[in-house]
């Protein structure tokens, strides 16, 4: 008896192992085929002049060409400008709203959260179509009507290279912040009440509580939103594609859009693959820097 038990148990663990592999099998096949293989393949294609029947190896030519291209740098600059103008502002807006939601009853909070989340449910294409009309350059366009109240003359929002980037940024500011708000509120509710009570005893006012309790506590949440926000923003190009096509004069050509055009408008797959790897590298470096600078005392 004493001897059979361990053997049996070992068998059972071994059996478990088999089930473990069986359970992840489908996921693993899908992952290998549609993520792992494409990533490896991207490296190979980036070194090739791709042709469906027989590509030729060109070494680092695609990378060299990209770095020599003015448009590539402009696209990186546009993406960086877009990210700097949207991500911090969006996080700040979500933070303010979350703070203001806090004093209300749970039901009121839920209603507001739902309202702020709602636009995220609509498809990007539908929203792009709607915003195109909000940005209508004619006198009758919604935004032109709005700014005329302040005595500002008509703008050719998406059609002029001086305002097109700003228009996309504005659209991002006014889009759904529901996800960030929900995450912030959850984090805010996680702060123990005793901290506030201690602060009250010391006679701290609202802003002191905000500065010394809330902001330090929300640091990990903010970092999470910042990193995911920047990663997301560097890949954004659907609005640029649908609303401006990257124009006018490439003022809104983001890296993502440039890669898309290289691949599926000009069928320069090698070029596109090379640029996508550069993009991946940039994203990795930025994420690393963010963790390094802001994440000292953040534990994951």
């Amino acid at each position: 008896m004493n001897q059979t038990l361990p053997t049996k148990r070992r068998l059972k663990i071994k059996g478990d192992s088999v089930w473990g592999y069986a359970f992840i099998a489908t996921a693993l096949v899908v992952f290998s085929l549609f993520t792992a293989y494409p990533v490896i393949s991207a490296f190979i294609i980036s070194l090739q002049e791709y042709r469906p029947l027989g590509s030729t190896y060109v070494g680092l030519e695609n990378f060299k060409e990209s770095f020599a291209s003015e448009l590539f740098w402009k696209a990186i600059k546009n993406t960086a400008v877009y990210t700097i103008l949207t991500v911090p502002v969006n996080i700040f807006l979500a933070f303010i709203v979350s703070i203001f939601i806090l004093p209300f009853k749970k039901r009121t909070q839920t209603v507001f959260k739902a309202v702020y989340y709602l636009p995220a449910v609509a498809s990007g294409v539908a929203l792009a179509v709607v915003w195109l009309w909000i940005f209508d350059p004619l006198q009758s366009g919604i935004f032109n009507q709005l700014i005329s109240l302040f005595g500002i003359s008509n703008q050719n929002w998406l059609g002029s290279s001086s305002t097109s980037m700003f228009s996309l940024v504005l659209m991002s500011w006014l889009s759904s912040h529901g996800t960030s708000i929900i995450i912030f509120v959850a984090a805010l509710l996680g702060i123990d009440k005793s901290y506030y009570e201690a602060a009250d005893i010391d006679g701290a006012n609202f802003f002191q509580k905000l500065w010394f309790i809330v902001i330090p506590f929300l640091k990990p949440t903010t970092l999470f939103l910042l990193v995911t926000g920047v990663i997301g923003s560097f890949q954004v190009f659907q609005n640029a594609y649908l609303m401006t096509g990257g124009g006018p004069d490439h003022a809104t050509t983001m890296v993502g859009l440039l890669i898309f055009n290289n691949a599926f408008t000009y069928f320069e797959f090698g070029q596109a693959a090379a640029q996508s790897l550069v993009l991946a590298l940039i994203i990795a470096i930025i994420s690393f820097i963010q963790f390094k600078f802001f994440g000292n005392d953040v534990e994951y």
């Binding site: 359970f23 085929l33 549609f34 539908a126 929203l127 006014l174 599926f264």
Partner: protein
């Protein structure tokens, strides 16, 4: 007492402060949902060419002519909706099943290499979509020759890493004792999974089902790349085609946008709890 001071000597002070806050929140809410309001209101306008008309933000009349105009645009408008439904439904079912299975295995079964494999999966989430886009397109279209098929639309998202992560995150809350006790009783892994784990994971499965369905319904670029005839397109691709073909027809365009968005609004309002919950489940300890 919390962050906000609620001990005002004067009741009116509290009232004023809350009033100001509510006003700010409402203003911001109005700004966020304005595009959707504008879209729905305008979709009831007449299908006339813009230019002569001016848009108003108040409904002037209710007519369904623009919806008719949108559906008459192509004989395949209904197929777009049907295709979106089929793709989203299959993607949803497959994700719920396979991601739950894999998430459970990664969370509760000890097998060699599980930690490394999971780390690889997580790491892959950092890779921008652009990197896999071109090779994936070549794989599906040139190598497998699947252009314009449901398989091409569905296969790449049969089970996503994000969903596996979601499930694993959720399952870490299921106590190990339950699983060990069932094993003592001689419960095999599949039995354990179907009779004990699944009933305990209804929430995460519901969250995943909804988010996956929405994601799939709203996705644009992939269906746009792998379909080349109108009858195989999804509603998002169809809407884009409609826009490029009718750049001046304002109300019908809004009708199209409304049609593409309304199913998700209905889903959202009826299952709101899961939507909002889904956001936090995924974000905990990013």
């Amino acid at each position: 007492m919390g962050l906000f001071n609620n001990n005002f000597k004067n009741k009116w002070q509290l009232f004023t402060r809350n009033g100001l806050i509510i006003a700010f929140l409402l203003l911001f809410a109005a700004a966020t949902i304005f595009p959707i309001y504008f879209m729905i209101i305008s979709s009831f306008g007449d299908p006339v060419e813009a230019g002569a008309m001016s848009y108003s933000i108040l409904p002037s009349k209710i007519s369904f002519e623009s919806y008719k105009f949108f559906f008459d645009f192509s004989p395949h408008t209904y197929s777009w909706l049907l295709n979106s439904l089929i793709v989203a439904a299959v993607t949803m079912v497959s994700n719920v099943f396979f991601a739950t299975l894999a998430g459970y295995a990664f969370s509760k079964i000890d097998f060699k290499g599980s930690k490394v494999l999971f780390a690889v999966l997580l790491g892959s989430m950092m890779i921008p979509y652009q990197v896999t886009q071109v090779p994936l397109y070549i794989l599906i279209v040139n190598i497998f020759d699947l252009q314009n098929t449901y398989t091409a639309l569905i296969a790449p998202s049969l089970v996503t890493v994000y969903n596996i992560f979601l499930v694993k995150q959720f399952m870490s809350n299921i106590p190990k004792e339950i699983i060990e006790a069932s094993k003592m009783e001689g419960c095999s892994q599949p039995k354990l999974f179907f009779y004990i784990i699944l009933p305990l994971s209804k929430t995460v499965m519901a969250v995943m089902a909804i988010l996956t369905f929405m994601e799939s319904w709203n996705t644009f670029f992939w269906p746009f790349l792998v379909t080349n005839t109108m009858d195989m397109q999804t509603i998002q691709v169809g809407l884009k085609n409609f826009r490029f073909a009718n750049t001046t027809y304002f109300a019908p365009m809004m009708a199209g946008a409304t049609i593409s968005a309304v199913p998700m609004f209905i889903l959202f309002f009826s299952l709101q709890r899961y939507f909002l919950e889904g956001v936090t489940v995924g974000a905990v300890k990013g």
